[in-house]
Symmetry: D2
Subunit: 285 residues, 4 copies
Amino acid sequence: MVIAIIGGDLRAVYLGKLLNDDGHEVKYFGFDNKYIDNTKDDLEEIIDRSQIVIGPLLCSNDNIYLSTPLYSENIELKKVFDLMNKKQIFIAGKITEPIIEYTSLKEIESVDLLKREELTILNAIPTAEGAIQLAMEKMPKTLHASNVLVMGFGRIGKILSKMLWGIGANVYVSARKIYDLAYIKSYGYNPILMEKLIDNISGMDIIFNTVPSLVLDKDVLEKVNKSSIIIDLASKPGGVDFKEADKLDIKTYHALALPGKSAPLTAAHYIKQSIYNILLERGYE
Amino acid sequence: MVIAIIGGDLRAVYLGKLLNDDGHEVKYFGFDNKYIDNTKDDLEEIIDRSQIVIGPLLCSNDNIYLSTPLYSENIELKKVFDLMNKKQIFIAGKITEPIIEYTSLKEIESVDLLKREELTILNAIPTAEGAIQLAMEKMPKTLHASNVLVMGFGRIGKILSKMLWGIGANVYVSARKIYDLAYIKSYGYNPILMEKLIDNISGMDIIFNTVPSLVLDKDVLEKVNKSSIIIDLASKPGGVDFKEADKLDIKTYHALALPGKSAPLTAAHYIKQSIYNILLERGYE
Amino acid sequence: MVIAIIGGDLRAVYLGKLLNDDGHEVKYFGFDNKYIDNTKDDLEEIIDRSQIVIGPLLCSNDNIYLSTPLYSENIELKKVFDLMNKKQIFIAGKITEPIIEYTSLKEIESVDLLKREELTILNAIPTAEGAIQLAMEKMPKTLHASNVLVMGFGRIGKILSKMLWGIGANVYVSARKIYDLAYIKSYGYNPILMEKLIDNISGMDIIFNTVPSLVLDKDVLEKVNKSSIIIDLASKPGGVDFKEADKLDIKTYHALALPGKSAPLTAAHYIKQSIYNILLERGYE
Amino acid sequence: MVIAIIGGDLRAVYLGKLLNDDGHEVKYFGFDNKYIDNTKDDLEEIIDRSQIVIGPLLCSNDNIYLSTPLYSENIELKKVFDLMNKKQIFIAGKITEPIIEYTSLKEIESVDLLKREELTILNAIPTAEGAIQLAMEKMPKTLHASNVLVMGFGRIGKILSKMLWGIGANVYVSARKIYDLAYIKSYGYNPILMEKLIDNISGMDIIFNTVPSLVLDKDVLEKVNKSSIIIDLASKPGGVDFKEADKLDIKTYHALALPGKSAPLTAAHYIKQSIYNILLERGYE
């Protein structure tokens, strides 16, 4: 197949290489020369020749331009869709309502990668490793034998707890649902009911939050040990009252988009698998 | 509190001891003397004095008599309910429609322990250990370095896989949903799509089934290695065509009610916790 | 090659099958018909035709007869050696001084399998699994979440601790050397200095001993919880004062020769590998 | 007790805090003000008032000056010893022959921390975490599901393998001794005989070396995948032909003194424990 990759971060660069290794013809657009040597290419020709158009994992920040962190110029979203035809598929991440409206109008099928459950689960792996790397960089202690709290037992909480346990940390996991606490216990971690968090938090050396609501508020932060570190993995605005933490002199890190930063090659590999699943479901081989 | 325990297996015996250790007054009925010394007790008086009546984990096999495997006589269900009053709670497992109808008629609150999600999750722990014990007893090989297949990634599949991996087995897990395969991969096991089971099953030394539908049918069984062992953990009729397996000379074990057999004390401990949760939700302390 | 297997337990039976699968011609002697169909064979002919003679893993209990637990008759050790010639190798386990003297006299090379370090390490795997199986059979609790003490951090202690940790037990390991305690800590178990054992033993649900000297004497046993179970894996006389434990009503199990009982096929596989190493070192291919 | 800490890196700073937390009076010398506020202190007075003098973990680079990476001036070793008396103990790491000669002359007892086996084992924990952090920073892949080779199965190899396995890597360990390979297999890693390294190395994503001799020479490096990363943990000159690796365009990192860099607080904690052991052995409480 001929595949166009338009914009995106290092994951897009690696994705192209992986698709190329599998025998596909890959056309890039939206990358400066130091990333991809595509100076002579022209967007119209690239899209025209491709069967699939792949956009960024976070398609757009403003619904007007594609997200192109590795490109010194702008690419209008509409321009891409105007060049596409009805037989082509547009695959990207976080395709918002306004974008869907426009692609519908143009009768172009768009597929949102972030709605692929297998991808969001696998993305938790590089996210967890990125969080562990950050913790190792920021803590004067080893994770081994430290008291580590993971808040939330969803996709990221599950794999992060397992890795921390594998390194030798004393793992505590807080959750709201009684059945999650049962799972946490069965996996060998120490379960903490979210409501009792405030009674247990002072002994923690490091706190990872995965819950996308304000769980570490003023009252809880006041109980946190001053030498603790908080790493918030929840998407903006996160689960920490950062201002309050600052006042209390507690170090916080809001770590976002870790897969693209910590392990873009692995992340690209998972995206590739998901794209193949998407194509398979649509009858491609 | 005064608590009546009427019928049940070894778990009921241990449950009474644990409740007693916590300071409750426990009255037993439905156990022969070699299990509990209760010869002088009489059912009417016991129920009359109790605030809670606890029945067996599998309440009844026929909706007529309580399940009393440790008692040489019978106890009619209706007789128990006729002796109870509206202020008392009846707690037992697998409370069927006919039983609910009768307790409703008598205006007695009944609580089904098997509908408590935290208990069914924790029950997976003694189930998994019981399955591992059985495998160790029946296999001439160690689990360590063996190829082990776990079919299904629900409550039992999850904890069983983890324990097998912890012992050092090469763990394969089959599941139907793509997102379960992603989880399986993230936990470090080898994922097998259920539809591709037939292509992968021949290399397995032992197969644990947790899926409650006919997954190991004639076609699949024909691919199973003759020296393999199959342990079926799914409730009756299970997930294996046992007759066909017999013809093919493959050893199968349908292992049911493992928590009560392999670790009745631990199982009783989890039941106790669940009873306390039930009472807490109803305003008891 | 042509290989004679004379006496031994189930491991010898499986060993022959594995050697046969690898293309060797295997001759058995010293097994009743229900184990091996060898009625017409005669010892003289078998030894005469073989290049290697393999005896039992525990060669002899009395230095007079071969150990033949699966045979209703006796085989004199001397008879075997008298039938052998100088080009043949005798491979067995626990070859004692009197046996070595006699083989030296006959100028027959004998190799003691129990002096092969790789085999004794690998044998720890089925030993550990056998110990875990026994614990699961005898305890009314799950190993998961139990307090488990492993005494000694040698070959068996190391792999047993790891498996117990993998199942989800709270693992305590006692050792005499400070550097072993450092390793124990680094692996994530709770280290206990042997001298402080007496202060820590009361909280244990199960105790595995691997130390071949009297570590669980009267003073220590008096601190052991009555509902605990002790599994002694040290060779006779073991590390437990069994009489005293009996008086104190503590359940003890002296579990010996576990590899042959719990996983004879895996044990045979490791023996085969060791035999191949022995032959390789002597220039055979 | 009154304890002098003279020179050293961040571990010395943390060590002082930990000793202080335990109730000891700690006097620092050899740190700039931004690390420790000790402007008014004078070396003679500090040593005079102390019972124990603690030097750097790597005492000296040249046997003339103490190692003082956090100090802008120099401290002569001889000056320290000249100020000490026979009742005081000098504790530091890597105390070389010339230093021992001088302290003997002065009849001062000196204790080398790096000869304390419990400390070198525990030091492997922050070393392993530091190596994992570096790997995470330098690799575009996750460690999870990567092929990872650990060369050598000593103190660092053991704990590093376990942590990598805990994160979900496919762990290969190479060793020279057959019995180490047996241990490696029993722990669930893939054993590689050192002599067969060259046949197995091409599939590795990352290689950690712990062997202090030239194991990754030109011949082996030529087989290494160009996208692999090599992290050498062996002390100088290390186990890698760095020049050759450079020519072959393979990325290498010689990571030394990791405990002080990656987790100085944990490292200080282990040093403190070792110092207490040293004092206990000498009759202090």
